[in-house]
């Protein structure tokens, strides 16, 4: 982070916790997401990464504490979007998947097609525009999910392990896209359990284990000088629970 520069807060979480049926899944935690930065949520399987992203996006409501985000952009569009761990493809063509999302945020009908085509071109999917989205490969589906989210012009984009099921070349492609989005000023909050990916992409890191926020720091600090034994073990490749 450029030091003496005050940057806006894109998302602010305070004392948020979450439980289902009396089982505590997310223990009280507080943190902020700074505008324009890439926050990577790290943690082993079952740490609570997906839950945390759903809570931040508003798909789940915390049992206690607050999540502050501006749901609506001044221009009326939704200010944040989410890409899921397993892409959710509508039973429609690739193009119609994008126009449907645009229509949902009340983009005027006359602009739907143009903006959808723009998004598909941007992510190299125009050649597949008329194909049923569900018949695309895993990598193509994930790319479409990102294109569809990008089309909504979010300020803040949540991504839940966007490359978990992809091969190395598809992973590189997605990472390059995320780097571009970052360059355009989109704030990213993504989860991964891939340490290499976190090193390549993260500005800031949240390290979760067993539903608790164990460490929150800038990426360099986290990887070079982890403060907790759990983080050290995770970085060393030893599983923590």
């Amino acid at each position: 982070m450029p030091d003496n520069q005050v940057r806006a807060v894109a998302l602010s979480v305070s004392d948020m916790s979450f439980s289902i049926g009396g089982v505590q899944l997310i223990y009280p935690m507080s943190f902020q997401v700074t505008s324009g930065r890439r926050l990577v949520v790290l943690g082993p399987n079952g740490a609570g990464k997906s839950l945390l992203l759903r809570l931040c996006h508003g798909l789940l409501q915390p049992n206690a504490g607050q999540v502050h985000r501006n749901d609506l952009h001044p221009a009326g569009r939704r200010a944040h979007a989410m890409v899921f761990q397993t892409p959710v493809m509508l039973r429609r063509s690739v193009l119609d998947n994008v126009t449907h999302a645009l229509a949902a945020i009340a983009v005027p009908p006359a602009q739907l097609h143009g903006r959808a085509v723009e998004a598909l071109n941007r992510f190299g999917l125009m050649g597949l525009a008329e194909r049923p989205a569900r018949l695309l490969s895993g990598g193509e589906q994930q790319r479409l999910a990102i294109a569809r989210a990008w089309a909504l012009r979010p300020d803040l984009l949540f991504l839940d392990e966007p490359t978990a099921a992809l091969d190395p070349s598809a992973t590189r492609l997605i990472e390059a896209m995320l780097t571009d989005l970052h360059a355009e000023g989109v704030t990213l909050m993504m989860s991964t359990h891939d340490l290499g990916q976190a090193r390549r992409l993260a500005d800031d890191v949240l390290f979760l284990a067993s539903g608790s926020l164990v460490e929150a720091s800038e990426a360099q600090q986290f990887f070079n000088d982890p403060q907790t034994a759990q983080a050290r073990a995770f970085i060393a490749g030893d599983l923590v629970w």
Binding site: R54, L59, F84, L90, R92, H100, A104, P132, R134
Partner: protein, 234 residues
């Protein structure tokens, strides 16, 4: 009409010559059944979708009840509407008993549980995979239901065809509320049921052939529909 020729030959003659009485029966049957299915679709598709996406106390009981209604014996439905529509019944004032309208109402009631139950099942499956995403892009329940109904349209068409199949094949309900009046409420199934015993084998057999043909067409349509659905939507 049929001398000593075999009933089968006579039946084919009826079909081939578009015998007016014969054609009339087929037309009335199709009109009644198609109208009934459209009515059931109009009510059942939105209700089924609503049932799929909403959560309320007693929802499971409603689902079980509707599934049970799918197996309702047509004669019981017929009897119920006979009592409702007969002159002394609560709806007697409309004078609908022994009219095509009564048969439409009875058949729609038979088809409705099928449409609701199959719609609910189909939409619920799709909703399970769509729910988080649709919420994520900020869709309210009404928009979500429209999205689901549209994306499930091929499966839903199959549900309507299943309803059409049941309505075409049933005798009991239309016989009781329609009365099998020649030229007015005589349907294919009621004609077969009653004309056979009166010895008009040719008419019964001809109608039977048409019924089998319709069943084949309906099944072919349902099959084609699911194939188109996969090719179209994945």
């Amino acid at each position: 009409m049929m001398d000593d020729a075999s009933p089968l030959m006579a039946a084919l003659t009826l079909i081939m010559h578009f015998d007016p009485v014969f054609v009339n029966i087929v037309q009335l049957s199709l009109r009644v059944t198609l109208t009934a299915v459209c009515l059931a679709a109009l009510i059942g598709l939105p209700l089924g979708a609503l049932l799929a996406v909403s959560r309320f106390r007693g929802r499971l009981a409603v689902i079980v009840a509707i599934n049970a209604l799918m197996g309702l014996p047509p004669v019981v439905v017929g009897l119920t509407f006979f009592l409702l529509l007969s002159r002394s019944g609560p709806l007697g004032g409309f004078g609908l008993l022994f009219t095509p309208s009564a048969m439409i109402i009875a058949q729609a009631s038979l088809v409705l549980p099928i449409v609701i139950a199959l719609t609910r099942q189909t939409i619920e499956d799709l909703w399970a995979s769509y729910r988080e995403y649709l919420q994520s892009i900020g869709m309210g329940p009404k928009q979500a239901i429209l999205t689901l109904l549209w994306d499930a349209r091929f499966s839903l068409a199959t549900a309507l065809l299943a309803g059409f199949g049941r309505a075409t094949a049933e005798v009991g309900a239309v016989l009781i509320v329609g009365g099998n009046i020649a030229g007015v409420t005589r349907m294919m199934t009621t004609a077969i049921a009653l004309e056979t015993s009166k010895g008009d084998l040719a008419l019964a057999l001809g109608l039977g052939i048409i019924l089998v043909g319709i069943t084949l067409v309906v099944n072919a349509l349902a099959f084609g529909m699911s194939r188109i659905g996969v090719r179209h939507a994945g």
